[in-house]
Amino acid sequence: MSYYLTVMAMYILIGIIAAWGLNLQFGETGVLNFAYVMFIAAGAYTTAVFTLGHPSANGTQQYFWGTHLPFPIPWIASMAVGAVLGVLVGLVSLRRLRGDYQAMVMLVVSLIATYLVSANTGFLNGQTGLALIPAPFGSVHLSELNYRWFFVAVTAVVALLVFDVMRRITGSPLGRTMRAVRENEAAAVALGTNVVKIRLLTMAVGGAIAALAGAIEVQFIGAWSPAGWTYPETFGLFAAVLVGGRGNLGGVALGAFLVQGLFLEGTVLLPSLGNPDLVGAVQWITMGVMIMLFMWFRPRGVLPERRRRFATEARSRVPLLLVRAQRDARG
Amino acid sequence: MTMTATEARREVVTHLRLEGVTAGYGGPPVIRDVCIGVERGRIAVVAGPNGAGKSTLVKAIMGQLKVTGGSVHLADRNITNDSAERIARHGIGYVPQSQDVFEDLTVWENLEIGGYLLSKKKSHARALELLELFPPLARMRSRAVGQLSGGERKMVAVGRVLMLEPSVLILDEPTAGLSVPLTEELFEVHVRALADAGTAVLLVEQKATEALRVADWGYILVSGAVEVSQPAQEILGRADIGEVFLGGSTSVVGEGDEEE
């Protein structure tokens, strides 16, 4: 059971990290990145080739290039790739297109990426995907289970760091400008906001965070294939952001917990109903119905975006825990 | 027209009548206990500071907001909280303050939607009539309204509502953005003519002086309540009100003497 708990914890943490990245793009800046899962995949593949070693060392698997570097270099490389990819995709799709077109073009871009990877076996081992990806922290000597909990703990720390970065961005004047871009692009421009730059910035930061989520995930699972990042997976994350509460970090985390954790993984625990053959189908149906119910009772999310009030007297209200987390992060 | 006589008649024949209407947006009510009315063939003006609740009031009449207290009557029919569509079918035409046009549709199509309740043939004929009434619109009949200038949009909005020849016409700041001559023309030609033809007109205006000049009755709404309810001419004469609500002098420079 404990094994399973570690998996649940990991998936939820990874889901939360990914959802925060998406929230920055979609919740704050209003960029409809329907290719989001592509960035997760980019991070996963990057970490994979940065840990698998030279392709010749993995006889049956084909990939274009590979090396083996220690933690945390692969994760950092993934983030860099995610950020660069974000800027590239942003340059193509965000500069001239209007919101709903951006969304659909992104959807198509995501599909193109899946096709490209699947069709080129020599690139990233095609449809089969990459497997036997080494886990990080090779030097840590722990029992199997403790190692897994250690991995969970590291991921939790990373999640806290991401939270801190997100909180700083969304709570700052920059975050306000992002929301202004979301609300009224023309007005933001008239006030001197470089909208293109703000969007690209969001694409880069969000892309890096998505890639980080992918990097962590791939090392935890040890495998990655195109079946794991088809475009509907993006919808799952959008559902998490909207069910939890777009523009509210806590809400988004809760949404990721609900959608990624409870609805998606929790239904794995559903008792076998009459015909076990139906379990798979019933899980998905349950998830659909749950999303609808949540949206019905909380149309703006379980924890909607907060109205930002400005205290007459300035006072810091950062909880102690986070202050410590920040200090740790810096130290 | 003496005040008492008018009020006495109002009880009986007032075409559109609000009795103690209270409404808002979910929080505390924005308008409270509002009683106003307008007869056929008359023009009533509602003025007041920004945020007083004028638009809220007309939205409540039009079934776009829930009326939580009081009632709205059209002739002898209670139309409180009727659906917007039914209210339109009862013959109330409405130009909202914002989002007053269909931006994706052309000028002509806006008129056609305005005449949705008419037969196709009648609608066509009426649209042609309106294009004659507003010559600038005729030149842009096949342009999308989203591309028009602020004033041109307003013309379309007013043109659209006139398609049906409604028995009650509610205009929420129809002159915002209109040039001075057009404002005058709207008040003195179109609105007056409609009233003379038997329409009851409820006019919400910031250009209160100009509006009151053509109106029969005036209401001044402050913080969601009717503060003043008097014949238009009397309000124009009141120095105190002029100062506070109508923007000081009642003779604003440069308006009347442009005409010739």
Binding site: W224, V279, G280, Q283 | -
Partner: protein, 409 residues
Amino acid sequence: LPGASASTAHASGSTLNIVSFVPFSGPDASFGDLALSGCYPAVYAVNSAGGAMGHKLACTTSDTRGDPVDAVPAANALVAHSSNVVAVFGPSSDEALSTESLLEKAKLPTFLMAGLSQYDYQTNPYYWRLTPADAAEGVAMAAWAKGHGYTRAAAVFATGTTSQGDGPASINGFKALGGKIVANVSLTPGQPSYNTEVSQVVNAHPQVIFFTAPADTSATFFAELHQLDNGVIPPTLVTEVAEEPGWITAVSGAIGLPTLEKQFAAMEAATPPTTIPGWSAFHKSLYASPTKVPNVSQYVDDPFTLSYYDAGILVALAIDQTRSTSPAVFDSAILGLATPGAGKVVVHTYAAGAAALAKGKKIAFIGASGNLYINKHHNVAGAFAAVSEGTNPHRIALVSATLMAKAAA
């Protein structure tokens, strides 16, 4: 009853589960039915004979959804709840590699559905593969074509995990045997049409086609081949995909049953005729079992179904023989139970096997698939048959072992 005194972690009479760990949703959702259609009759056969060592067996499922991201937590859940599990049916090629390290930890007899070549020489004592590898099948195709004197072949494979095994094997095998691949075409499933691919094949004038693709893709492809080649379809060899439910219906819907019967042959693990006693017993259980997969009749001659039925019975017999429900103990008995030998009583049903064991006899179980010939890598030999539908329902083994060896060289 046998095993009443055995020391085991399981309370006497508690239910033992066989988990089908394969996709039940997603594009490969049909794998789930393959595993279950073997599990249900096996469990029924065991339970109606009193259960394995008195324990009832049951079939449970764990949905991998066909991708690693979902399979890993499912594998973890399986490991976590493994106390009542005695065998795993699966994983498939979709998730085998990514869940390998986890499943190894479970130390449960695991009956692979994956045809991946990675498992051809595997040494994990708990891993078993009772259906031949993909590559073997590819080789068999080449050998069959060669045996029929064909020299020009077109290889048409859908992109996907299995075709990464079958495709190269058939192509290399055919070349090794002196044949020529005149067209090598891959199909991306889910396209509205494949007319370019079809044209390539038509223009290359092959004598024979090596083919694998899911049912719906195949239907589209052959409908268009039929159309563009003026109703002519060259002799076509299909992998075991043809045995998956609906494949035959799909293609016969597209080109007509007569053409299908005349021109197509499906490769499959060579199984003896359905008249063998093991198969009859399976067949009876399949229909007698109160739980069934939908459209169960599609599975009566599916090699996966048959091998999973056999696996279920073998596990139960191993429990009986070792008088232990602990996999660490009974797993090692499976190989012996599946291999006939001197002094062993050959049985074809669970009931007969249990009774013989109770009498203290040594037994060998020959079930629905006939003799499996499991080798030391827990793989089966992989003699193949090319099977045709229609008028000739009996199976004709056409691939000789010598030819196969030559092609594999």
